[in-house]
Amino acid sequence: MSTETHEPVSRLTDRNPEVVRALSRRYGAGFITDIETDSLPAGLNEDIIRALSALKEEPEWMTEWRLAAYRHWLTMPMPHWAKLKIAPIDFQAISYYAAPKNRPKSLDEVDPKLIETYDKLGVPLHERARLAGVAVDAVFDSVSVGTTFRKELAEAGVIFCSMSEAIREHPELVRNYLGSVVPAGDNFFAALNSAVFSDGSFVFIPKGVRCPMELSTYFRINAGHTGQFERTLIIAEDGASVSYLEGCTAPMRDENQLHAAVVELVALEKASIKYSTVQNWYPGDENGVGGIYNFVTKRGDCRGDDSKISWTQVETGSAITWKYPSCVLRGDRSVGEFYSVALTHNMQQADTGTKMIHVGRGTRSKIVSKGISAGRSSNAYRGLVKVEKGAEDARNHTQCDSLLIGKKCGAHTFPYMEVKNPSAIVEHEATTSKISDDQLFYCRARGLDQENAVSMIVDGFCKQVFRELPMEFAVEAKKLLEVSLEGAVG
């Protein structure tokens, strides 16, 4: 039994054409869209930032904000504390702006090639696909190419548009909230993002409004030698609620492309924001060549009493994933949640987790993290639960499980707990194990083949997280996991 479990993939592929096929279709989103792009020359300096800002027709204050962030970034060293092996990044070799040449005025004018791209990725941009009932903002390289359902949303008072548009049309809102959760100098990559962010989504849900549909952004990196630096800002006013999804893919290339985004969430009194991510950036090949560096700062601020922010992430892509979606629980009785499935295979690396900062009274947080490592990958959970002095009756429960598939991978857990209030209850549990031979044997005795058996066990392992995803995403996430794990077990 066990010899079969650990049979090297290469030997299997030699004789099993089905596995050969399965392996070759592993990354379905790896195609390149042949489309003319406008891009800024590679390099980073104040002139590039001014040019970028001018291209986007930004007001003076925005340009200055970017420049201040850039000057701060220059003073910061690249951080190295994570359990990651990162090849040096040449920030001067990246083009910080790439956009399809023909800028559409409305969705109907969007280049059909782009629509086709999103269709291929299963994202409903086109009119006929609108039955899906999800409003989509599609970000292609550095710009948003289209946002659906704008009229319907506007009737409800919801603003859902690209960040560039928001800066032009709602400057007072942007100015008020941008950088208020993740300051421009927060960390190395946040500072870089603040200087060069090109687009992203802006969501504003006014007082008392329950957003009538799911909102989503689909990020696509297409052009080579570029990075994607988007910035998302979601504001839910008193009593408002919204569910937001993001998905990401990129073509298969030999180079490592940088994706350094910043996401800021603000929840005022009794507001609730649910943020779900299915991240499927190109992970690189089995030898670790190419793939996206996904270095993202995501933070939610439960600013009002009784507010709630919930992060759900399914991370299957990227050569390196390095992010910690966090919640600052400032309002009394505010709630933070983090549900994560992170899967690494081949040479992928992940150092991900969350931070829950309890400031207000009666704040609660819950963390469920499931890590799956296969191949020669490394998968780390790193999380901080901090209970400040004034956070009376704070509660946290953290559950971190790791599943190992294969002998050459690593699974690590680095939780930090800092408690300064005696009425707090903070609990952390973690386990690491492999899929047991007993479980596999049981499934196979019931007629499942090895691959299906593994996939079923993994699915059960992740169920607690998938349950938190909106239904369409849960189905996608499950499929992604199956595809990503193909070839992991011989």
Binding site: C409, T413, M417, S423, T432
Partner: protein, 441 residues
Amino acid sequence: MASAFVQSFAELAPDILAAMPGSGLPWLDAFRRGQLDAFVRDGLPGTRSEAWKYTTLRALERRAFRPGDSDAAIRDVDAACLQLEGVDGPRLVFVHGVFRPDLSTLDDLPPGLTLQPLSQALAEDAEPLRFMLTRGEAQAADAFTRLNAALAGDGMVLRVAGHARIDVPVHLLQVGAPAGEDLAWHARNIVELGEDAALTLVEHHIGTGTHTHLGTQVSDVVLHARAQLAWVVLQEAPDGALLFRHDRLRLDADAQARVHALELGGALVRHEFDAELRGEGARLDTRGAFLPGGRQHIETRLDIRHLARHTASDALWRGVADKRGRGVFHGAITVAEGADGTDAALSNKNLLLSPHAEIDTQPVLEIYADEVMAAHGATVGQFDERSLFYLRSRGIPADAARTLLTLAFCRAALDDIGNEVLREHLGKRLAARLPADGETA
């Protein structure tokens, strides 16, 4: 500009080094010099350094200490306080890191047991100690380990011959005594158990009167195949003392170690415990409780490495922080590639008794093998209200009920000490530490 702390060692060191036991041996002189230079060059770690994130040394940097104590051999020590209930075997007493034959009992050692101070071993034949003493050179040692390597001239050298099972516990005492000024003392212990050997070691840190000295102790412990070590540590340094201990344990095939530590004293205490399970079937159990109160800062760092197949480790630690005390716990378990069949578990539960106390805990798992069962759990909280209610409904006053629950909470870490008398004694020391009736916040 070096801090006052570093300066106090840099300036006085040359003559101190020349007067140390073992001085004159070229390899030892070179090693000590190298370690001291490295210490002076790098200074003390800051909180930006991950391993020192929760322990700031800023206050220490401003203080100066006299390296070594020339009067250690004649300092007045009350012999009565050296007794420990249930521990009546051979005893080695060190005052400020210097061996005190007048206070020690080394007569009638059981067959198979070699026990002598390091100073004496160095004078007799230093060569067999060379490997152990200089092995720190290869490792990236921290500031206090370096300081110890450079300046520790004495300590305990304990060897148990193969197949010898020593049935009396060996008692090691590190004693601090009041002196005119703040002293820095250092002790270096070497313990080696041969194949199939067995030993109980009781390590006791005490002070006669109050003092604010700084002490460092580095212990290297090697257990050869099938050796068994029971190691109990009772740390009752005076409340102003600073104590940095670093234990390095190596277990060969089927060796077993059971470690119990009760951390009660000191103003700033850091205990690093590194263990390598290098032989198949090795097993390590660590248990302990730390109780920072007052303004105490007590840190325990475990680094348990499973390097061979079918090794097992189990760690159970309890922390209770009261007043303005701060407890820091770091428990890392690493399972190396190829260490299949490893079974590792770690639990750290903590109680916060005061609004000014703080607990920082960090259980870590690093797993590089797949046939592994590894789990850890950590909690920080306060009393279970239902237990408290139950006790009160039985007529026990609230304060007494709290003390009772705290005691039970910590006792879990001491309950499986084999020596019953010693276990009860530790229980009493623990109870004495807990807030008395009516004192609880």
